[in-house]
């Protein structure tokens, strides 16, 4: 074990971690607002990535295809919330288990639909980052550096949006206290839909960043969503700040564990290990916040 390979494993762990960070934040955003876990988050991201693939195949320049895909994903997420999720919450006897079953159903539907449209063979997906760009090195190739960069920029924008804009404040309020939000004239239903749109948008970025590395097929996000869950739980499922940090930690942990301990075939087991460990030892996650309440 040389220092170089160790460093390489850590850094490429961070690169993979950026994918998990984005997916974990998407999961946390929805969980915080409605206490639902969207098991279909990864498949929605995969579907969006296929849209980008089709656009690129039609000759649309990469970054324009990227932006169109973000817009598509946002609308897609809003539409899923306004139709299926809203219908679900109006069911007379819906429980949390009903939601779980419906979201797993969505997972299967999106997976199958993508297979129907685009087939199950691996497809090459372009990277927007030049293979020989100056920021590449022996430790990280340009695409991996780009993944980290894009993720950090997007996370920054998302947090600034929630922290500094009126709409962001309204969305946080709707998630924390729907009833008081309604009394403040906030249209809570639409805030939840916007949250779904933003989550789908984040997921699509993870998908588009993952695809050049993993190749594109309907099962693109199967592993990523698992690591994303581990990351969200590790960071604290109700803490949007913890989710990305959890993502990077899981990325490094899984890479190091794969390289030195369990081997690459058992890497996903590590994610499950993280999930179990968090649930057993610290269910609120590393950064699970407790709201201070005085009565």
């Amino acid at each position: 074990m040389t220092v170089q390979t160790f460093l390489h494993q850590v850094l490429s762990g961070l690169a993979d971690g950026s994918l998990y960070a984005a997916i974990a934040l998407a999961l946390v955003m929805i969980f915080k607002a409605t206490h639902q876990v969207n098991f279909a988050q990864g498949e929605m991201a995969m579907f969006s990535t296929f849209v980008a693939y089709t656009l690129c195949g039609a000759g649309v320049p990469y970054w324009i295809a990227f932006l169109i895909t973000l817009a598509f994903s946002f609308v897609f997420g809003v539409a899923v919330q306004r139709t299926i999720v809203q219908w679900l919450t109006r069911l007379p006897h819906a429980s949390e288990l009903t939601a779980v079953v419906v979201f797993i159903g969505l997972l299967v539907v999106f997976n199958g639909t993508a297979g129907l449209i685009w087939g199950y063979t691996n497809k090459e997906f372009p990277s927007p980052f030049d293979q020989k760009a100056w920021y590449g090195s022996t430790y990280l190739n340009p695409h991996e550096v780009g993944m980290i960069g894009v993720t950090l920029i997007v996370l920054g924008i998302v947090f600034a949006f929630f922290r500094f804009t009126r709409l962001g404040l309204a969305m946080r309020a709707a998630a924390e206290n729907p009833q008081s939000s309604r009394l403040a004239g906030i249209r809570v239903g639409w805030m939840l839909a916007l949250g779904w749109g933003l989550a789908a948008l984040l997921g699509s970025i993870a998908g588009m960043m993952a695809a050049p590395k993993l190749f594109l097929d309907p099962n693109l996000m199967g592993g990523v969503i698992l690591y994303g869950f581990a990351a969200a739980l590790l960071g604290g499922i109700d803490n949007p700040w913890g989710a990305p940090i959890g993502g990077f930690i899981v990325g490094v942990l899984v890479n190091l564990g794969g390289a030195y301990v369990v081997g690459s075939h058992l890497q996903q087991t590590l994610a499950l290990g993280v999930i179990v460990a968090v649930l057993v030892f610290k269910p609120s996650g590393l950064f699970g916040r407790t709201v201070v309440v005085r009565v």
Binding site: R166, L169, A170, R172, A173, E176, N177, Q179, S180, S181, R182, L183, A184, G185, I186, R187, V188, R289, V291, V292, V293, R294, V295
Partner: protein, 237 residues
């Protein structure tokens, strides 16, 4: 005097349990009205019925002449009804300033920062706590914040659900004094639900007395206070 708010034979129920039966009451424009009654008489439900919060209603509810029954809560409050709910409805994890800004969420004008300053003149303690997480405020401070948040929406009518609940008597006096000032200075109408009947009688110009979901007496506070049976049965005097 024209009525700003008028309930005409309103029934309300939570699923199978009917709570209000044929409640008819009016709040005149610029007026202060109290809704009194024992625990479980339907006072809170009346306020919730007005804002269509978790209750089903029958009968007509009019605000500024317009039918509002059946409209979604968000749309009702946007017409100019501020609701200080039971339990205060504080956004506990957000800062005091964010709570106040949320109160003004339905406004599109540029006077919001000025209104924060103006409302903090009524409640100076909020100015000191501006950046603090609202969950760390004391009960009394949270009550002031709840009223301030409702005021930020510049409502024409303020619905107050037991603003005295759980507060020290001095603080209750203070909050009632401020409510009187706001009613005079801003011509804001108020419908006040109170357990503390004596305080409420001092404040308002009209009283409705609820018993098991029905209005059993109404009139000016002197008349209600003078009525021997009413006093014995509901005012505990």
């Amino acid at each position: 005097m024209t009525a700003l708010l008028a309930l005409d034979k309103v029934d309300a129920d939570y699923g199978p349990t009917t709570v209000l039966r044929g409640v008819t009451l009016e709040v005149p424009d610029g007026g202060m009205v109290a809704l009194l009654g024992a625990n479980g008489a339907g006072k809170t439900t009346t306020l919730r019925a007005i804002c269509h919060m978790g209750v089903k209603t029958r009968g007509a509810i009019r605000f500024a002449g317009k039918r509002i029954d059946g409209m979604p809560t968000e749309s009702i409050v946007r017409l100019g009804i501020g609701h200080v709910p039971e339990g205060r409805g504080t956004f506990l994890s957000l800062s005091v300033e964010e709570n106040l800004k949320l109160g003004a969420m339905m406004r599109r004008d540029r006077g919001i920062a000025a209104d924060v300053a103006r409302i903090c003149d009524y409640f100076p303690v909020l100015r000191e706590r501006m950046d603090q997480q609202a969950g760390t405020l004391s009960g009394g401070e949270q009550q002031m914040l709840a009223i301030a948040r409702a005021l930020m929406g510049k409502p024409r009518l303020l619905l107050l659900d037991e603003p005295s609940f759980g507060l020290a008597p001095v603080l209750v006096q203070e909050i009632f004094r401020i409510l009187r000032v706001i009613n005079k200075e801003e011509r804001m109408s108020m419908l006040l639900v109170e357990q503390n009947a004596r305080l409420a009688l001092d404040l308002v110009s009209q009283v409705f007395l609820l018993e098991t979901g029905r209005v059993v007496a109404s009139g000016p506070p002197q008349q209600i206070a003078a009525d021997e049976t009413v006093r014995r049965a509901y005012l505990g005097q």
